[in-house]
Symmetry: C2
Subunit: 344 residues, 2 copies
DNA sequence: GTTCCTGGTGGAAGCGCTTCATGGAAACTT
DNA sequence: AAGTTTCCATGAAGCGCTTCCACCAGGAAC
């Protein structure tokens, strides 16, 4: 299929320059005349040249490869996150390697494994609570690390203010008549990563209700795993305790979807008899008209990539924590009439 | 954290041999006296030496790294598959890199990306139907490729005989009184991989019923996505059409679990009023006493790794297709009394 | 005893790249 | 006009490894 890959020498020959010049073009060195650079780029194009990252690494430079470690959980969230990361990195001609964390043991092996340890210029770790699993909350690697969807005092972190998100949700639902309910999403057992995010959301939510003077008895909280099914069960549970109208903070869009479906099945009017507010801002929320607390996932990924780029370029300041704010998106699931927009 | 990694020269110096000898030890060359080899290994141990795969690659040899491409679907199946692959590969001192296929576009990018294209000695592709997505069913790579949980005439493949599995299921359930139902699991939309496996299972199932002379009207088939929820809905659907005893082939353990739960909720006796048969052999089936058609997933992974090793060592015969057979495991969900084992 | 292997070993060459002295030519000085 | 600086460009050295040729013992064959 693919022939022998062309090397820097062939490019140099074709462009009529020395190999040093080609290398400088590759590395964006300043001292190259624009027309020479153009000639070299043209030669690379014509030959279908791709730099060999291992040779680059060996030669003591960078490999222009970044690893992203992410939980082996197939959700839209990670898809969007990678999208955001990639957008920034591709532009800088970086290559991306994704590593699903199937287990705790595997993460450790990755970090020690030659592939990752030798090749990668830097790494992004998603949704992973280091402090729990690594001594001193420090990864056994000497490459720069950026965390996303997690916080850690030792590394640059990009995270969503989940407490604020919950607070927004509480504030918003407190404006409606009828009792208020909430779903607490449980952590998956035996996962290699943590998810305190749900607890944070709930804490913010409860805080807001307290501020608004709205009661939130214990029976109004239903705990379940992250699933549509959980939403269905939750709504049934709530309806045993109160009759419509009800206001429900679902904690996650997926759960909210279950509630939506169950409400429909039971013939309850959405936005009136049952008001549902999700969390995450999944693409499907728009389709089904689900109000939600949206996370700017792509932006978070992009920011993480930027922080990493800076580190890889030598920035050595103290760890930075970048906080993102969620955004309330109001849709039909909490609104009887589309003509009355919510104004905070 | 990690100091400068020791190189082959330091190992050579410490062992009091030449660098050529160290290399020969690394590559299992025959021509090294056992005691010399031992001395070298000891030196490597003491220095904490790890060979640099990029240097190996550059030097024209292998990198001793294999890539496994797998759908971004967090299931026990892939966990076990990787386990099986890894078992074989680690033994041969190979390193593993996992690449989740988040999307069709990303798979393509992987194959072209320098990381995978340059580093990897060979690759294993799981649950992916090449013919649909690549021209001529051929991957744009010159490295050896082995498919697992998929078939393709161009590459070595390791697969389960899903038709046979379905047939076993049909044969088995046909022995019981009461009408027979089945769940057909739908493919996920917009996934980068195919799953004809469910269709194959069902085909085998129907064939077996026909052979046994048992009717299977259209209304006895319920189609749903792969989820517990789907199982719940399926059972309700079936109960609208017939009263117990019922026999249900769930098509997948996850669906079967939903059926189990719903049956319990409805107060139906398992193994008597409702008999449920799953497919896959998930670990949880043992806990909950679910009968199932088990796949030897680890063995399949291991076999795939072996085939790949052979290819990487130069074997150039025609593509081989290794078929695995599923195994019926009988448990409480299809058995009233534990004292009466099923003898085929 | 001489020749020819053979198993065991050492080290130079070279993989594709970056980096670094080095140098030529043009652009500024005074 | 000659000296100085700047800008480009060159190719050797070296990254950590594999491979290959060269070499040396000792044993087998003559």
């Amino acid at each position: 299929m693919s022939k022998k890959k062309p090397t820097i020498l062939e490019v140099a020959a074709r462009a009529g320059v020395g190999l040093g010049t080609v290398s400088r073009v590759l590395n964006n060195h300043k001292a190259v005349r624009p027309e020479t650079r153009a000639r070299v780029l043209k030669a690379m194009e014509e030959l279908g040249y791709t730099p060999n990252p291992h040779a680059r690494r060996i030669a003591g430079g960078r490999s222009y490869t970044v690893s992203v470690l992410l939980p082996f959980v197939a959700t839209e969230f990670y898809r969007r996150l990678v999208e955001g990361i990639e957008g920034v990195l591709l532009e800088k001609r970086y290559d991306l390697a994704l590593f699903p964390i199937l287990s705790q043991a595997r993460l450790r092996r990755y970090l020690e494994s030659s592939t990752l340890a030798f090749l990668t210029d830097g790494l992004i770790l998603a949704s992973y609570d280091l402090s729990e699993h690594f001594e001193g909350g420090r990864l056994p690697t000497d490459r720069p690390v950026v965390l996303v969807d997690a916080k850690n005092p030792r590394y640059d972190s990009v995270y969503l203010d989940n407490f604020l998100g919950g607070h927004l949700a509480g504030e918003y639902l407190a404006r409606f008549p009828g009792p208020i309910f909430a779903v607490k999403v449980e952590e998956e057992p035996d996962r290699a990563f943590r998810h305190t995010v749900f607890a944070e959301r709930l804490a913010g939510f409860q805080e807001a209700l307290k501020e608004a003077g709205r009661p939130f008895p214990e029976g109004h909280l239903y705990t379940t795993r992250l699933s549509q099914e959980g939403g269905r069960l939750a709504l049934r549970h709530f309806l045993e305790r109160a009759s419509p109208p009800l206001n429900v903070f679902a904690g996650a869009d997926q759960v909210a979807l279950g509630i939506l479906e169950e409400a429909e099945r039971l013939g309850l009017t959405l936005g009136k008899e049952v008001r549902v507010l999700g969390f995450d801002g999944h693409p499907f929320t728009e389709e089904v008209g689900l109000s939600t607390i949206a996370q700017p996932v792509e932006a978070m990924g992009a920011r993480a990539a930027q922080l990493l780029l800076e580190r890889m370029q030598g920035y050595a300041g103290p760890p930075r924590a970048v906080r993102f704010e969620p955004l309330l998106i109001e849709r039909a699931s909490t609104r009887t009439s589309p003509a009355v927009p919510y104004l905070p």
